[in-house]
């Protein structure tokens, strides 16, 4: 009797779960990037293939427990033995994983194996416990050198710029918010001030770790205006939960206004 209840419960859980996924009850946020559709498509394919196997597995489990559970109906031996079954399982799941990897590499390649547009707008991103700061090169188009020994957060020199002596650094624009123009290719360079962090903008379908010591490029094009969250998804200390910044995708003219206003505050 307990076996039959168990089987019914398993079947119910399977049906409810499958429904929630198919009906997109809790699904991904809106995609605002050019490469996003490839990633979303890959996720849906993976969920479909794995989901079919999941449903099949649960149905078989429920059926066997329902029919053969209990002392009298116990199956004494798996027909054909265990070995062919194990080999079959390996082959089935293994093929699925390999196939998904090959097919999924298209989505991966769209983000990582395509060179950034040479006309991309460049922004330097620094992650540090527990805030992000962003740097635009300013009218001269050049980033000033960074001097970690000059970092002084009390004076708001978060990047360690030598604005007194470095002409390239004088016009750099440092902000606490990442604003970008819509439909323009953007190239970010990510570096960490201290430990590992991560840059995760869900709607942009971008997630990239900061690795201390590396300058990591990330490029994308945003397709919709709006205000979105960038959150840290690599545990970095006691303030990790509070570590975020806002991504502001603006029309080109709004972006110019914003950048001009930020420059005047430097």
């Amino acid at each position: 009797m307990a076996g039959k209840i168990f089987a019914v419960v398993v079947a119910l859980i399977t049906i409810v779960t499958a429904y929630c996924v198919i009906a997109h009850v809790w699904w991904m946020p809106v995609d605002i990037s050019v490469h996003g559709p490839k990633i979303d498509h890959q996720i849906e394919e993976t969920v479909l293939v794995a989901g079919l196997l999941f449903i099949a597995g649960q149905v078989v489990l429920a059926a066997f427990v329902f029919l053969y559970g209990g002392a009298r109906n116990r199956i004494k031996q798996i027909p054909g033995g265990a070995k062919p079954l194990i080999v079959f399982a390996f082959l089935l799941v293994g093929t699925e994983i390999v196939a998904l990897s090959f097919i999924g590499s298209k989505a991966w390649g769209a983000v990582y194996f395509e060179a950034p547009d040479p006309a991309s707008m460049r922004v330097d991103v620094q992650a540090g416990q527990f805030a992000y700061y962003f740097r635009y090169p300013g009218p001269d188009g050049k980033f000033g050198s960074l001097h970690p020994d000059l970092i002084n957060e009390g004076n708001q020199n978060y990047f360690g710029l030598d604005t007194d002596h470095d002409a390239d650094a004088k016009d750099d624009i440092v902000t606490a918010e990442l604003a970008i123009p819509v439909n323009k290719p953007i190239l970010l360079t990510l570096h960490s001030k201290d430990v590992g962090h991560s840059f995760y903008a869900r709607e942009l379908r971008i997630q990239q770790d900061f690795v201390p010591g590396l300058n990591i490029p990330v490029h994308f094009t945003a397709t919709q205006t709006g205000r979105f969250e960038i959150v840290c998804t690599q545990l970095c200390g006691l303030g990790h939960y509070n570590m975020k910044a806002y991504l502001s995708v603006l029309s080109p003219s709004d972006f110019d206004d914003w950048l001009r206003k930020q420059a005047s505050m430097q």
Partner: protein, 247 residues
């Protein structure tokens, strides 16, 4: 014989009266101390300070009405008065520092800033740390490694109770940062003896200064220190003005 006794009695009573007078003489109290007052000015143009963007923590941004917040590294009021300058006696007061106030100094985390930006207190005087914000803070004083004051940091969630702390050694001044909000900065000046902190008109006042000649030091976080000699007597307050030059 009688005359000698009378003389002895009279002398004895004189002695007793004198003793009573001496015993009843008041100890040096508030009525016998002086004051030092003065004005601190900034000569020249205050440096341009970048406003603080608190958008990374919506609770902070909301507490400040969503607008950028002025930085407090150099606060200049009307008529060039320089605020947040700590004035204390650096020489001449040894052994005569007076009682430590039993009132604790307070520093509050409000609007994701430290209020006040500069706190002065005595060695051994208690300090209360409050969090009035709807977000958690982690206060992190960073005293000099060789100064004898220990470095520590403590979290306070929104609505958490106060932290009580006292400092064992003189230090001017201990920088304070918040580990969660990188823009937050304060200074704690731990001194012996009377002290004053200038307000936004640049005026300061030091009370309970025993009469004498002292070297006063004025400290500002950006412009450093200046000294002046001052003589204090009871009655009219002694005046000591300082002028810092903008770079």
């Amino acid at each position: 014989m009688k005359a000698q006794l009378r003389i002895a009695a009279f002398t004895l009573s004189l002695l007793l009266v004198a003793l009573a007078f001496i015993r009843s003489a008041p100890t040096v109290g508030a009525s016998a101390t002086g004051q030092i007052v003065g004005t601190i000015k900034l000569d020249g143009q205050a440096p341009h300070l970048k406003p603080i963007d608190m958008s990374k923590d919506p609770a902070c941004a909301q507490a400040n009405g969503g607008a950028p917040v002025a930085a407090e590294n150099v606060v200049v009021g009307a008529n060039g008065g320089l605020a947040n300058v700590v004035v204390y006696i650096s020489q001449g007061l040894a052994g005569n520092e007076g009682a430590i106030s039993s009132q604790p100094a307070t520093i509050d985390q409000r609007g994701c800033k430290y209020v006040p930006h500069v706190v002065a207190l005595n060695v051994g005087q208690h300090m209360t740390v409050l969090n009035s914000d709807k977000t958690a803070h982690n206060i992190h004083p960073q005293p000099s490694p060789t100064g004898g004051n220990g470095q520590w940091n403590k979290s306070q969630t929104a609505g958490a109770g106060p932290i009580d702390v006292a400092w064992a050694n003189q230090e001017v001044a201990i920088p304070v940062k918040c580990n969660i909000h990188p823009w937050m900065r304060a200074y704690i000046a731990v001194v012996k003896g009377p002290f004053g902190v200038s307000n936004d008109t640049g005026s300061f006042r030091m009370d309970n200064v025993p009469p004498g000649t002292y070297t006063l030091t004025a400290w500002q976080e950006t412009f450093g220190t200046q000294t002046q000699v001052v003589t204090v007597a009871t009655g009219k307050p002694a005046t000591s003005d300082f002028t810092f030059k903008a770079k």
